[in-house]
């Protein structure tokens, strides 16, 4: 008797579940569509019409935003691309080297260094920003000819412990027999790295590349601190310039540039959504 209602419920339940989920999807996506809509509204509509769709399509905001400052937004996009691209290279390279050492090789104090690496996982970057700024400034690297060195040097030195950890975890899944076989065939640790670890670590490298691109592209704090000349600004820092000009006419262009600034991340999301969603799982939980 009691099993009958239990049996009949799933259909209704499934429908209810779907309705609830669709409502949540609407709430979650609304700000994004609203942003898109506002980016093509005229100044008058931005004040009067807060709905999703513009009554009059005003794509001119994009052109206005692009040329709003003395330096065009194209430059800011190039700057961001340069910083993010080189960060990807730096992280992938340096974190893989460190992960191979910490996860695969045996040497003195390895356990200690591994513990230290884990300790730096939770170290907030904000704690180090003041002394790092002082150091890089005293080396003449802030606002100089190579304005991005303070942003990039740490990335080439495997300071992003999250990726080191992710790769160590990944390498645990590569059978040790492969290393041993290569060693018996006369391969040195460098040979093992080159011919076994490097090719097999491609999935971890791709995950690292995607995440470091997105994080660097979105990062604001470090770029705000270390970039001081307008022509060196990256997209997030340039976007804050819009906030200073409070005039109503700047809202449309500001939204237009905000949309464009999210476009690369969104494209990455479309291309790699599976990997992104799975990537954050491999990082933390199952070793």
């Amino acid at each position: 008797m009691t099993t009958v209602p239990v049996r009949r419920r799933p259909g209704n339940r499934q429908a209810l579940r779907l309705v609830v989920l669709l409502v949540i999807v609407a709430v979650v996506l609304y700000p994004l569509f609203w942003m898109l809509g506002t980016s093509v509204k005229s100044p008058a509509e931005i004040v009067n019409n807060v709905g999703l769709l513009p009554e009059r399509f005003t794509p001119g905001n994009y052109l206005d935003g692009w040329t709003n400052f003395d330096v065009g937004f194209g430059r800011f996009f190039l700057n961001s691309a340069l910083v993010s691209g080189l960060t990807v290279v730096g992280n992938a390279l340096s974190c893989l080297l460190a992960a191979y050492a910490l996860g695969r090789l045996r040497f003195r104090l390895r356990k200690l260094w591994f513990t230290v690496m884990i300790g730096t996982l939770l170290l907030p970057g904000h704690v180090l920003i003041v002394p790092q700024y002082i150091l890089f400034r005293s080396l003449g690297l802030v606002g100089g000819d190579w304005p991005y060195l303070p942003l990039l040097v740490p990335q080439f030195l495997a300071t992003e412990a999250f990726f080191v950890f992710l790769m160590v975890q990944f390498m645990r899944g590569i059978p040790r027999e492969l290393d041993e076989a290569a060693t018996i065939d006369g391969a040195s640790p460098y040979g093992v790295f080159r011919h076994v670890i490097l090719p097999l670590s491609r999935p971890a490298l791709v995950t690292t590349a995607i995440f470091s691109f997105i994080w660097t592209w979105n990062d604001f704090f470090r770029q705000l601190v270390f970039l001081s000349n307008l022509e060196d600004y990256t997209v997030p820092v340039a976007l804050t310039l819009f906030i200073d000009s409070t005039s109503q006419s700047a809202v449309g262009p500001m939204f237009a540039m905000s949309v464009l600034s999210l476009l690369p991340v969104f494209l990455f999301f479309l291309a790699f959504q599976r990997m992104l969603v799975e990537g954050i799982n491999t990082s933390g939980l199952k070793g």
């Binding site: 579940r17 989920l21 949540i24 999807v25 979650v28 996506l29 994004l32 942003m35 506002t38 004040v47 807060v50 709905g51 050492a101 910490l102 090789l105 045996r106 040497f107 003195r108 390895r110 230290v116 939770l122 907030p124 904000h126 704690v127 180090l128 920003i129 003041v130 002394p131 790092q132 700024y133 002082i134 150091l135 400034r137 740490p154 080439f156 030195l157 495997a158 300071t159 040195s188 640790p189 460098y190 979105n218 704090f221 705000l224 997030p236 976007l239 906030i243 200073d244 939204f255 905000s258 999210l262 991340v265 999301f269 959504q273 599976r274 992104l276 969603v277 954050i280 799982n281 939980l285």
Partner: protein, 326 residues
């Protein structure tokens, strides 16, 4: 016996290899030990140059009145003055502490509750799960950006989208972002909106819960709520713990949205003065880098203490099904 005068001992010419039979292995080990440090060297240089030395420098600076304008050699040692000022003479410091704690204490549990709730809704194998999962995850990728903070501020303006939504129900909204009582709440909503990342981790955790446990509980007559309390929560506790630690520490560090909302001031009336924003203003607007360093160290210690508290209390409520320690 002859064996005691082992030839290996007397004829130990090589630098390694306590025994002749192990010499091969020993040689590999030396090479490997060297290689270990070769591969580790970028990380080690980074650890020293970008992390350890700056940390020590900042510890020293926290006892000085260093501003970036005077050279490091002429810096004045002020003892504990920075810490004293922070704890006794700077009300806005305590205000920043309160704002940060309020933010973390409210936003993190709500975000995790949303993440768990939606994960439970999605935790069935049916077509469309992947799509929903990706859509819910999207805000976590975009939400930390300046662009989204700009959108948020405008959405919660007096004439923003949120108020026109309220108007549908005849409710007259407030200028949320410029109201000191509500500005921080809008930032909390932005944080909760990014529930997708912990949700994905919850989903992975839910997949690990053996279905037999649910079946056994159902056979014993446990209802849905009881099954959730008695099976899901304990089995999921390691994942809850992981998310809680991660999100709390992230919550303490919220900066971008507060900066955008207040144009870098922490306003209105210091209501969004997150700790990191206060640190930024002290160090890079007021150029009181000694004072900012003291703040950074207190922040580091506080995060260490919070993490330690999590880990020590975790023993009492985190259940590891495969580990039988404790």
């Amino acid at each position: 016996m002859a064996v005691t005068t082992a030839p290996g001992r007397t004829s130990r010419t090589g630098p390694v290899g306590p025994r002749p039979t192990r010499r091969g292995a020993g040689r590999v080990r030396l090479g490997e030990g060297l290689a270990g440090y070769v591969f580790l060297s970028p990380w080690l240089i980074g650890l020293m140059g970008v992390t350890a030395i700056p940390m020590l420098l900042s510890l020293w600076l926290s006892f000085t009145d260093y501003d970036i304008l005077t050279p490091l050699s002429e810096v004045r040692w002020v003892g504990l003055a920075n810490y004293e000022r922070m704890f006794t003479a700077d009300p806005s410091y305590w205000h920043a502490v309160r704002v940060t704690l309020t933010f973390a204490l409210i936003a993190v549990p709500l975000k995790l509750a949303a993440a768990l709730g939606v994960a439970l809704l999605l935790n069935r194998a049916w077509r469309g799960v992947g799509l929903f999962r990706s859509l819910f995850y999207l805000p976590s990728l975009l939400g930390g950006s300046v662009a989204l903070a700009i959108v948020w501020v405008n959405m919660f303006n007096r004439d923003g989208a949120f108020n026109s939504f309220l108007a549908l129900f005849g409710v007259e909204g407030l200028p949320w972002v410029s109201d000191p009582d509500w500005a921080l709440e809008t930032l909390m909503v932005l944080a909760i909106w990014q529930f997708g990342a912990p949700m994905v981790i919850f989903l992975a955790g839910l997949k690990q819960v053996p279905t037999e446990l649910y079946e056994a509980a159902a056979v014993d007559g446990a209802g849905a709520w009881r099954r959730f309390r008695a099976v899901t929560l304990p089995m999921l506790s390691p994942v809850i713990f992981f998310n809680l630690v991660l999100e709390t520490i992230n919550g303490f560090q919220g900066f971008t949205a507060a900066f955008v909302l207040s144009n870098g001031t922490g306003g209105p009336v210091d209501s969004t003065l997150m700790y990191t924003l206060k640190l930024y203003i002290s160090g890079f607007t007021d150029l009181e880098m000694g004072y900012a360093s003291a703040m950074a160290w207190v922040f580091l210690v506080a995060i260490g203490v919070v993490t330690a508290v999590f880990f020590s209390t975790g023993r009492f409520w985190v259940h590891y099904s495969d580990g039988d320690d404790s």
